[in-house]
Symmetry: C2
Subunit: 114 residues, 2 copies
Amino acid sequence: MRKSSSTNLENELLINGNCGMAYTLDLIGGRWKPSILYKLLKGSTRYSQLRKTMPAVSERILILQLRELESDGVISRTVFPEVPPRVEYQLTDLGKSLEPVLRVLSDWGDANRV
Amino acid sequence: MRKSSSTNLENELLINGNCGMAYTLDLIGGRWKPSILYKLLKGSTRYSQLRKTMPAVSERILILQLRELESDGVISRTVFPEVPPRVEYQLTDLGKSLEPVLRVLSDWGDANRV
DNA sequence: CAGTATCCTAACCGATACTG
DNA sequence: CAGTATCGGTTAGGATACTG
């Protein structure tokens, strides 16, 4: 859905009838982004914890999706200067504002899937 | 986001944490599906009319997205036995039930895009 | 622990010519 | 009018080995 970088969102819109729906979908529509966001709704989470609960995704992809969410301002990344290193991901305010959106998507899916 | 055919939705879910969100996103998350659904919210629409309002999408892709929405039960296709042929697309009941979902997505996008 | 680097596949999307 | 057919490009996603 996404073209390449997250700076293409505007472009995306223009060719898509200038519809805000496309913007939202482009933000949360990645292959693993729903799962990530869903987990982060429950609070700040370590990288290793995300990995553990999503064994099907490869490391590269998980990082990639996290980076995209981060550069789109939906989540933020906190590095704790410890040994061994600790990194936690959490929703930004923008990310938190997505909660009703995510919930509607989740509810509709739960209600209508076979 | 989608694997290949629309019959893979269940599979999709299993690897995605069994989250209904992924199901919904897979249904409406195609490149042009938001635009299509948005237009169909206003009522039954001819193929040629869809084409006209979405000049950026190629015929093959438009048809493909329509077929996917159709096989997922979100829209239906009515052929009128006339010359020249007329085909109209409209939301099914399932499709109509998506309206609140689409609206939330649209509203959030309009409110938060730059 | 939390990532990169490298290489690879397949899905998705597109232009254009043609047809019932 | 409403599509197919054919071919081809781009990019999202993935497996695996390695590193600060």
